[in-house]
Amino acid sequence: MRSILLTLLLAPPLAAQALSVPATVDTLANGLVVIVHEDHSAPIVTVNTWYHVGSGSEKSGRTGFAHLFEHLMFMGSEHAPYPQFDRLLEAAGANNNGSTTEDRTNYYESGPRSALALMLWLEADRMGWLLPTMDAEKVDAQRDIVKNERRQSYENQPYGKVADVMPPLLYPSGHPYSWPVIGSMADLSAASLDDVKDFFRTWYAPNNAAVVVAGDVTRAEVLELARTYFGAIPRGPAISYPTPSQPTLARDTLALLEDRVQLARLYYQFPTVRAWAADDAALQVAAQILTGSKTARLTKRLQYDDQSVTFVSARPDHKKLAGDFGIIAQAKPGVALPGIQRAIDEELQRLASEGPTAREMEQARNVIESRFLSRIQTVGGKADQLNGYFYEIGTPDGFDRDLSRLTAVTAADVRRVVARYLTGPRAIVSVVPEGKPELGAVRREVTP
């Protein structure tokens, strides 16, 4: 429970008034949502577009397709043929990029406000007229690049193979989160031009997208441009989204990887809850109390007291359909993982039985409040978060609602969620130096 005394003595609220990033929401006739946040403090603008599709909507045998498709969105459209997209933006002083997660694909253009019309026009042309210039050659070219990305980010990186191994240990076969966003080499090879056309027609319709424009602009000018450029794009068919399901584990699942690494690493992943579910906020506070600072439970125990690890970090990953909570610890040279496991389990058990102290709660709250303030310093950061809140809770300015639920978490909540989610069965991956499987983690003898 939050101590009123402590609050009064030590920590008046950081933000005097409610945290807000005011934004307007308008919907075009074709279903496209246009969100505008005016910020006239610098002469810059960001156009941030989310399509509500990610790797979680991929068909079996086509893992990695949503991300491959993201790459294809830069391959030119009917009126801005390849490679105009990048070239026109650079010539206007603007940057751009895209990214794909399990749940969504986003694209942004950032630059001087003089590029606003160009940014919206380019985004509209590829939303409406991507297919006329799409061909198998472009698919092949980007397929090769994505394979290179997979090599660079996973295969040629120490510990990179965990990205392939962990999801199926935690999520049952067929679950939308049971494969990595980057996909498999075989599935990337299998992707065809027909897949591209189907995917575009299904998911890249205006009624499955939201465009946030943030920066030195007015709502009126943005809406005028949006109507002009996006208005002629026809609405797509009705969309059926993957059905939410939160899997649990009946017992620990385990994998051991021998890799060309010097230091062993332990990966835990616990099944938890979806984003914005009742226990989501308390799990986020629990992560802060476990590894959010040097004095956090796991950091202090492993890094400062036992001195058995080079780092330990906990991260809740609460997605649209399901959530998980990861803990990663990297052993000092020669240290075996079972001892680290024991220490982590002890600390989780202790937090589950005793709960956090009032001081830990206050500290966590202050760190979380500061983090909210630093997230609203850039128009790019605000734009992406406005789109995120709109997708998750149906309103872009969710900052205060999000912060309020986090600051409302009590010590009893933290204790309860740690007991409920972080002391039960989990997926465990050990990465050990080649030839040293004896350093690997172990399964618990008895499942709770």
Binding site: D26, V34, S114, I145, N148, R151, I239, V367
Partner: protein
């Protein structure tokens, strides 16, 4: 909940089916660049205070830049970064954990690090607790503990990190690249963090001595940005750092001009084996250029065309046209003692030799042929108009002010340089490419599966091929 749950009444209010717009809209008039205003003050002990206000968000950040980074004459290598890292491991009578707890409790963040030229202590946090956060930063400056047990713990952590770095082909390539470009005796020959032998030599006495000789208010600049007035910044500095006195003996910092330029031997190839690697890491470069060179604006435009943007030649060919890589690029490391020029990519193992050939073709091409006017215009705009986004946050402003301090260049020079970049001609680009990018005097480092890639690399005949261990 998703957007599908929007009330139906929201739909259909705005817009109607129109015609598609088939040509790119023209750009509006570009906005003008406004550089942040900076207030300068000085304390009697010599500490300079630079304040720039941006009260959009109720956060303040302060950075204390102290001359004396990794390129000082102090030994062993890695001492500066290690000492900086030790500052928040105990100070002002608080242990590392007590200090961290106090900082977190204020909702602030506090840390220290070192680069080649400076040690930087940074604190940022909410305006309402900033005075207390600033006092904790002053503890790091004036009252660090440097206890033996803490030094031993952090030394072991650094040894583990050095060991772990050997697993990352990118890090291996960077270190091998630096030690080959810069000869023994040059500050950049050894990594910022030293190596395992130099780390073993770090102890509490070395750290304490280095800090006492380096923490000199006359060589320090305090940069305060965010929701703060110059008067508030001066007040914090006077109260907390006013008693900071200059040391009797100072760490020797060789003036940048006295560091002998690194030699530029004939092009050679250095290979590091990583059996079974799926990709090869390629780094190609040479000692770089003085930031004070009048050619700076033209070099930036030349590099933007060569490898400094997504549409640049190296990325366009290696990634987009050939599909050899996920990305390729190049750049100059601008430092008071010039850092390297470097072009790099990670490429599929079986096209390592073809990729190297592309790099060298493009180095020659940008020297031999004038750049296309459209390409030139794009690069100039990308740099000049792109700079409008460089001063959005208090952190970016602090960074820009810090850079101007490190180079001793007034912030206002940025505007002049952008004007100069906007006027760079195709002849300028060709001239600086010919002068500074000589394909016969480059060092090539490749980390990859040598059994597969070595024969093809040798066949290219770029220069002598040598295998090194890391």
């Amino acid at each position: 909940m998703t957007r599908l749950l929007l009330p139906a009444a929201c739909l259909g209010l705005v817009g109607s089916l129109g015609a598609q717009v088939t040509t790119a809209p023209p750009l509006a008039t570009a906005p003008a660049l406004t550089l942040p205003a900076v207030d300068t003050a000085r304390l009697p002990n010599g500490l300079t205070i630079l304040t720039s206000r941006n009260d959009e968000v109720p956060l303040v950040s302060a950075q204390l830049l102290i001359e004396g980074g990794a390129r000082t004459a102090a030994t062993p290598p890695g001492l500066a970064t290690f000492t900086a890292g030790m500052l928040d491991e105990g100070a002002g009578g608080r242990s590392a954990l007590e200090l961290a707890e106090a900082v977190d409790f204020l909702g602030a963040s506090l840390g220290a690090g070192a680069g080649w030229d400076n040690i930087t202590i940074s604190v940022s946090g909410p305006k309402r607790t900033f005075g207390e956060a600033f006092a904790l930063m002053a503890d790091l400056v004036l009252r660090p503990t440097f206890a033996s047990a803490d030094v031993a713990r952090e030394r072991a952590a650094r040894q583990a990190a050095l060991l772990s770095a050997k697993d990352s082909p990118g890090q291996v390539a960077s270190r091998v690249f630096a030690r080959n470009i810069f000869p023994a005796g040059h500050p950049y020959h050894v990594d910022l963090n030293g190596d395992s032998a130099s780390t073993a030599a770090l102890d509490s006495a070395a750290v304490r001595t280095f800090w006492h000789r380096t923490a000199d208010p006359r060589r320090a600049v305090l940069i305060v940005t965010g929701d703060v007035t110059p008067a508030e910044a001066r007040q914090w500095a006077t109260t907390q750092l006013g008693a900071w006195t200059a040391p009797a003996e100072r760490t020797m910092i060789p003036p940048a001009a006295t560091i002998a330029a690194a030699p530029t031997p004939a092009t050679r190839v250095i290979l590091v084996d990583k059996p079974g690697a799926a990709q090869s890491v390629i780094m190609i470069g040479a000692p770089g250029v003085d930031r004070e060179s009048p050619d700076y604006p033209a070099l930036e435009v030349m590099n933007t065309i060569l490898g400094g943007s997504f549409s640049s030649r190296l990325n366009d060919i290696l990634r987009e046209q050939r599909g050899y890589s996920y990305g390729a690029g190049s750049g100059f490391s601008w430092r008071p003692v010039p850092g390297p020029f470097q072009a790099s990519s990670q490429v599929r193992t079986n096209v390592t030799d073809s990729s190297l050939a592309v790099f060298f073709e493009q180095f020659r091409r940008i020297r031999d042929e004038p750049v296309d006017p459209v390409e030139l215009e794009r690069a100039r705009n990308y740099l000049v108009l792109g700079a409008l986004g460089d001063y959005e946050t208090a952190r970016q402003v602090a960074g820009a002010i810090g850079t101007s301090v490190v180079f001793g260049i007034p912030l206002s020079r940025t505007a002049e340089e952008l004007v100069a970049m906007g006027k760079v001609t195709a002849a300028d680009v060709q001239r600086v490419a010919r002068r500074y990018l000589d394909p016969t005097r480059l060092t090539v480092v490749v980390v990859g599966d040598l059994a597969t890639i070595r024969p093809g690399i040798e066949k290219l005949g770029l220069g002598p091929v040598e295998v090194q261990e890391y």
